[in-house]
Amino acid sequence: MSEPDTSMRELPSRARRPAFLPTCGVALLALTLLSCAAKEAPGLERVRREGVLRWGADAQGGEPYAMEDPDVPGRMRGFEVELAEALARELGVRAQFVQNDWSSLIPSLERGSFDVALNGIEITPARAGRVLFTRPYFVFNLRLLARKDDASVTQLESLKGRRVGTLANSQAWELLLRTGAQAVPYEGVEEPYIDLEQGRVEGVLMDDLIAQRYGQPRPGLRVVGDFGEGYYAIAVRPGEDDLRAALDEALVRIARSGELRAIFRRWGIDSAAQQRMVDWTDAQTREVLSDTSTAHLGWGQLVLFLQASLVTLLVSVGAMALAIPLGVGLALVRLYGPAWAGRLATTYVELFRGTPVLLQLYVLYYGLAGVLRLDALSAAVLGLGLNYAAYEAEVYRAGVLAVPRGQLEAALSLGMPMRLALRRVIMPQAFRVALPGVTNDFIALLKDSSLVSVISVVELTKRMTITAVDVRSWLLPGALCALLYLAMSYPLSRLARRLEARLERG
């Protein structure tokens, strides 16, 4: 551990705060639940009985860890795949890969989705206080990359207050927060480097294995330096000490026989430093695991939650402000425009309604990054706005169709041009019909806005997951998150109902 005082109490709010009393209760409840799960069967016995070692990893983490074989779809390859297979063999069972988002590997391990988490998981005090770790199997460095044309980045400290990309809840994430940089969370390893090239972040701090493969090959980027060493180890559920002991023994055998470094060599990640993994002693394991900490939900976290709610609100209101006029336009073109424009509008609606908004966000932010340089927040507003416009178009079209035809004729007979008739007579009445649908969509959008976390925007749900991992509990952060969503959506539906009541009279 290069940062022995990596205390989660300091993170990520960077302020000491009194722990919430309820946290204790929730933590207790969580512990009770965990111990119940653990009682079901000691780990090793269960693994042996089932003949399978289920290991959780994220294929999106990519090379060289664990990824889908491009030649044989569905088959996994990577140095951790080989490691998992070697370990399983030592335990006399078969290895089975279980896909899981990297940032939630630990919570998924705790709830029993797999037996072990094995995916470049760094030993951090927060994690050490939460799960059992085996002895480490790989030593790495945190490597900082910056743009070649940006000479201002010379060390970690030069990024104080600036945007730096990394994986949420990783060792690099914690180091960045401690440095005072604005850590931007990503879900994958490719995206932060795309954003660095695009100028959306000013540095990327990641494990050197990732930097080597995904960052350094990019012509516009340069290595600033290595900042801090860390270890990958296998995470095991608390209470399953027998499984951990068996894995430790297996690791020793694999390391001593030379198999471990042979695997590293095959993947081009071996170095003299890895000999330490072979010579590693139990005393060293005890030492790196001795520093444990548990963060608590405090006022600082609350402030972060409120900030994230503001982002959620901003994204939702912005997207709706875009979706409504665009939707009205699409609806009117479909109803009254020339045939070719109507077909175009229909295609738009089908395209944006018929494909996942997540995909659209990816394409808009990463796919079109070369053509359209948007910052994450603008891309979030634009992406959701374009998507919801398709829904608004249908809501307004239904609204317009519900207005009796005579209303348009009456307006035209008074000498109103078509546009004026639509604006003054048809649309106000259509709006009345559409209002409940629009309200509905806005509330749906408020919740869908959580999807923009895939393009590195920290909104309310993302904040909740980051905090939940920090404080080892999903209950209280989850409840707080739900409360904040309700605090935003409920006044909105009340407002809409009052507006409906007012319009009802006419």
Binding site: P404, G406, Q407, E409, A410, A411, L412, S413, L414, G415, M416, P417, M418, L420, R424, V425, P428, Q429, R432, L503, R505, G506
Partner: protein, 254 residues
């Protein structure tokens, strides 16, 4: 004022208007009568471009409507519509506007009248149709007769030279017809040209200076109502008025 020449319209292979020519002068009140499907309402709707036609012309002052898509005729069409008001059978009041709002909408947004002026004019018009006390009511809060009078006031607010009325008596209680006749007679006194489609012969006789009988898309007979009703020349007119079939009974609507 309005002049129609050789007006033809086909609809789904059927001839609805078959070469209609007629002129409606200033201050004239003309009743269009005839059996259902005879083309009365279609003719009326053609007069202010609500319905496109296939042949002939409609001339209002210097502006001429031509066959084909009315929407493509832009400015000319809007000018005609501003000079020719229309009162629909079902009135079609703007459901989201009060009585006064209905009357002021077009003057403000089409004519560009100042809001205060439009409101002043609107109140005067509502007074003229006897609805001053209902200016803040929404259409859904008004009776049928009241809605019709608001619809007339709304059309008058554009200060048209011609007012077209489609079956104005059909949705009225019989006792209200008299009030409508009084109102329209006053408008005629103001020099307005009125063209009305009707089935009510008493209404036509009391109000109209001229009557056109339409059948099969043609004008088969025309003249003062007293003459047409008393001694129709055309067999079809007699049949329509029920004179041939059920002798001895008074004509329809009397």
């Amino acid at each position: 004022m309005i002049e129609v020449k050789d007006l033809c319209k086909r609809y789904e292979g059927r001839t609805v208007l078959d070469g209609i020519s007629a002129a409606f002068g200033p201050g004239e009140v003309v009743a269009l009568v005839g059996p259902s499907g005879g083309g009365k309402s279609t003719l009326l709707r053609c007069l202010n471009g609500l319905e496109p036609f296939d042949g002939g012309t409609v001339r209002v002052g210097d502006d001429v409507l031509e066959p084909g898509d009315t929407r493509a005729q832009g400015e000319r069409l809007w000018r005609i519509r501003r000079r020719v008001g229309f009162v629909f059978q079902q009135w079609h009041l703007f459901a989201h506007r009060t009585a006064l709002g209905n009357v002021t909408e077009a003057p403000i947004h089409v004519k560009g009248l100042r809001r205060e002026d439009a409101i002043e004019q609107g109140r005067a018009l509502l007074a003229k149709v006897g609805l001053s006390h209902r200016e803040a009511a929404y259409p859904s809060e008004l009776s049928g007769g009241e809605q019709q009078r608001v619809a007339i006031a709304r059309a008058l607010a554009m200060e048209p030279e011609v007012l077209l009325l489609d079956e104005p008596t059909s949705a009225l209680d019989p006792e209200r017809v008299g009030e409508l006749v009084d109102l329209l007679a006053r408008l005629r006194g103001d020099g307005l040209t009125l063209v009305t489609v009707t089935h009510e012969m008493r209404f036509a006789r009391e109000l109209a200076s001229r009557m056109l009988v339409l059948h099969g898309g043609r004008i088969i007979e025309e003249g003062p109502p007293s003459r047409v009703l008393a001694s129709p020349q055309h067999a079809r007119t007699r049949a329509f008025l029920g004179l041939d079939r059920v002798a001895g009974l008074p004509p329809l609507g009397s």
